[in-house]
Structures are given as C-alpha cells and as structure tokens.
Amino acid sequence: MVSALLPMRATGACVHRRGKRLIGPVDLVLEGAGLTALIGPNGAGKSTLLKAMHGLERLSMGRIKWACGAAQAQRAQAFVFQTPVMLRRSVLDNLAYPLRLHGTPREAARAAGVEWCERIGLAGMEGRQATVLSGGEKQKLALARALICAPQLLFLDEPSASLDGRATREIEALLRLATQAGTRIVMATHDMGQARRLAREVVFLRSGKVHEHAPAAEFFDAPSTDAAAAFLAGDIVD
C-alpha cells in the first residue's frame, strides 16, 4: 500500500515567511512502514515541516519528491491538525464528508460513518453537532475523518496535546490500528512517552533542521548528538 507513495525525498527544503526562515534546509527520506515521530523543542519547525510535506506550506527553496506524482501523492494523504477543525455539521456528516468529496454515494458514506462512530466510541452521537463535542471527542472524530478514506500516509500534528490520559490512550489505540492496516504515519509530538510507545523511527528537529534521524530504539537509548541527548534528558534546548 505504501510503496505507491514512498519513498519521499526532501532535498534542501526551506520554508520562509516574511523573510524569516521557518525550516530548512531539510534533507529527509521517508520510507518503509510504521510511525515516524517528529520531535524537537518549541519552534523547531515540526508543524511547518509536516505542512510542507503535505503541501500546505509552499517551499521557498528545495523540493519534495514522491514516488508517484505530487497530485496523486496529495490525494493519498490526510492531515490531522493540532486543534481539530470541525465542520459545522453533525458527527456523522463530518465522517461522511471526505468520502462524499471523493464521490462515494451518500448512503454508503453514511454507513461507513456509522461504522467509524462505533469504532471511536461515538456510537449514539451520530446526530450531534461536531462543534459541541469535548476536546478528546473532537480529536478522535478528526482522526477518524482522516482515516475513513484509508490514506496511505497520515500526518498528525500533536494529536494528543492537552488531552487527558484516557483520550490519549484511545487516540494511540486508533493509531496502532491504522499502522497495522498499512497506513504510514508521521506525527509531531512533544510527548516523549508517546513517541517511545508508538514510533518506529524518530526525526529530531532543531532550529528548522533535521538534527538526527534514527530508529526509535536507537535514538532513545543512545542519541548520537549532544543536543538530542540534552533534549531527552529534559534540558532546555533552543
């Protein structure tokens, strides 16, 4: 499933805004399966890099190349934002929306929505307005809405930021199911415990650049850079 889209190669990718460099130059290869955790201090460029890979941020320099065409690659991806954006519709209509966009008949889309409602623990809430859900429910709904089209690649921007333990556990369970189903995931997170639990590999960003890119076990046991070691030790890293 992943092979059609990956590997992705970012070469000298930079994003500037109002003359200020947000990330770059970034050289990164994304391949294989599982979950890649993007970690780093605040302002390191995690969200910007995610958005640049997804095409929501325009590169000012460099390029990002997919195994397939850029348009085809974007169609095979989904993105879940740190603050989930809820359409002003019911829970069920939010879930059915991406399927309807891709031409799925209304009844089939709604049936899939009902199934996903049960899967994420929102059964019985199909008719409720999505905008009035709790933070955890919104995040689960946003994740389910992203997964309902079975994307090959899923970008997550701090999916469990400001969620309690139970909601975080539910989100992580969904992510495990998604990776088992073959969805490749790239996730920005501040939660080192979450990165340890879920990640196959880690990309450590600092000042908009990839400082370290290693298998998760190797990175957490023996980071190869002083900055990464200091970050893992809880020291303040700029």
């Binding site: 997804h54 934002f81 002003r88 929306y97 966009l101």
Partner: protein, 234 residues
C-alpha cells in the same frame, strides 16, 4: 400623533375588512420582492463564496466595488433600468417596462451587492477556519464553495433577510420602472407614496403598518422554517 392612531386604526380596518385592494397589492409586493430575492440569492451567494475562496488579481477591487454598490441609489438604478427597457433602449423589444418583471429586475440589481457583501464577510471568516482542512482533503473549487454555502447557511440567511428588507421597502426604482399602475404594478410602497401625495396620511400610515407587519411575518416565517434558533444546531 392623531395621524399615527388614525393610521393604526386604518391598518386594522383594512386587514379586518379583508380589503381586496390591500390584499392584491400586498400579494404583489411579496411576489415581486420574493422573486427578486430568489434571483439575487442565486447570483450573490455563489459570488460571495467564490470571492472568499478564490484568489485572483482584481479580487480586492471587486470586493471594494461590491461594498460600495451596497449604497447604490435606487432612483439611479430605476433610471438605468428604465432607459434599458424603454422602447428606444437596447432591451425595449422585450416590452418589459411597466411590468412586475421590470420591478423584479430593478430590485435584483439593488439587492445583489447587499446580499453578496454581507454573505462575503461571513464566508470569509468561515473560509479562514476551513482553509487548511479543505485544501488538505483535496476539495475542488466547486466543492469548497458548496461546503461554505451549506455550512454558512445561517449567516447567509441573515444576508438574504437583509436583502428582503431592502427590497420590500424599496420605492424609488420600482416607481420609475413599474409606473405604479393600479392592478398591474402597484405595490405597498408605491401605494403609500401615492396616498401620501394625495394627503391621505392616515391611509398611507395604515398601509405602512401593514407593510411592516408583512415584513416581520416573512422574517419570522423564514427563521421558523430554517430553525435558526434551535439549540445546538450550529
């Protein structure tokens, strides 16, 4: 003050006595304004959504012009439509001058900028909220517009009602293009203007009160039908 009380009495008398003329011109007022509203919404709402989602070279200028046209003088609109529809005008062959259709045309021109501007303000905010999500989902331009129109329907209803209010109270343009012909193009506002001109202030006020009641009823009916105040709907 006496005129006001007399006007209220006249209004009640006209309504309760089932005055045929009153019901005829009230029905014509509603028919003309609601027709204009439907046509104007069909033009203005997609235009507002397009201006919200699409970036193009003259976008800011277009929005500025649209906002400026909200204050379009109805008399000038009436004159322009009159010239266009008069026998010697480019559309004279259609024979529409002094017909309800001409009045609808004039009202559409007057209320399109108003509805489009108000709708655009709301849809622009909604687009700012949805932008990244819809781009991320690969929604096409038409799908983005349709999504904004559906999810922003409450604000769009407000825009439409503002257009209805402007249209139903309009007198200058429809007097010129309609001619205030009895049993053909006379509507509430032109009847009020006529009675005021004749010095029948009480009857004019009575018609005015009926017009206000009509406008309030239509607004309430639209709110009720669309259930805008139902809790948790948005």
């Amino acid at each position: 003050m006496n005129d006001l009380w007399e006007g209220l009495w006249q209004a009640a008398r006209l309504v309760l006595s089932l005055d045929a003329d009153l019901y005829e011109i009230a029905a014509r007022s509603l028919r003309v304004t609601l027709s204009a509203l439907v046509i104007a919404c069909a033009i203005a709402l997609p235009l507002a959504a397009f201006l919200a989602v699409q970036r193009f070279r003259w976008r800011r200028a277009t929005i500025a012009i649209l906002n400026a046209l909200m204050g379009l003088p109805p008399v000038v609109v009436g004159l322009v439509v009159y010239v266009m529809l008069s026998r010697s005008g480019p559309l004279g062959v259609l024979g529409l001058l002094f017909t309800p259709t001409a009045m609808v045309v004039a009202q559409v021109i007057i209320i399109v900028p108003l509805i489009a501007s108000i709708a655009h303000q709301s849809l622009r905010e909604l687009w700012a909220e949805y932008h990244d999500l819809l781009i991320s989902m690969n929604a096409g331009r038409m799908q983005r517009i349709a999504t904004l129109l559906w999810d922003g329907r409450r604000a769009l209803l407000t825009a439409a009602l503002a257009g209805f209010g402007r249209g139903v109270g309009e007198v200058g343009a429809i007097m010129i293009v309609g001619g205030n012909i009895d049993h053909l193009t006379r509507v509430m506002t032109t009847a009020i203007a006529l009675e005021t001109g004749k010095g029948n202030f009480a009857l004019a006020l009575g018609l005015g009160f009926v017009l206000i009641a009509l406008s309030v009823m239509v607004n309430l009916a639209i709110h009720w039908l669309s259930r805008t105040e139902t809790g948790g709907r948005w």
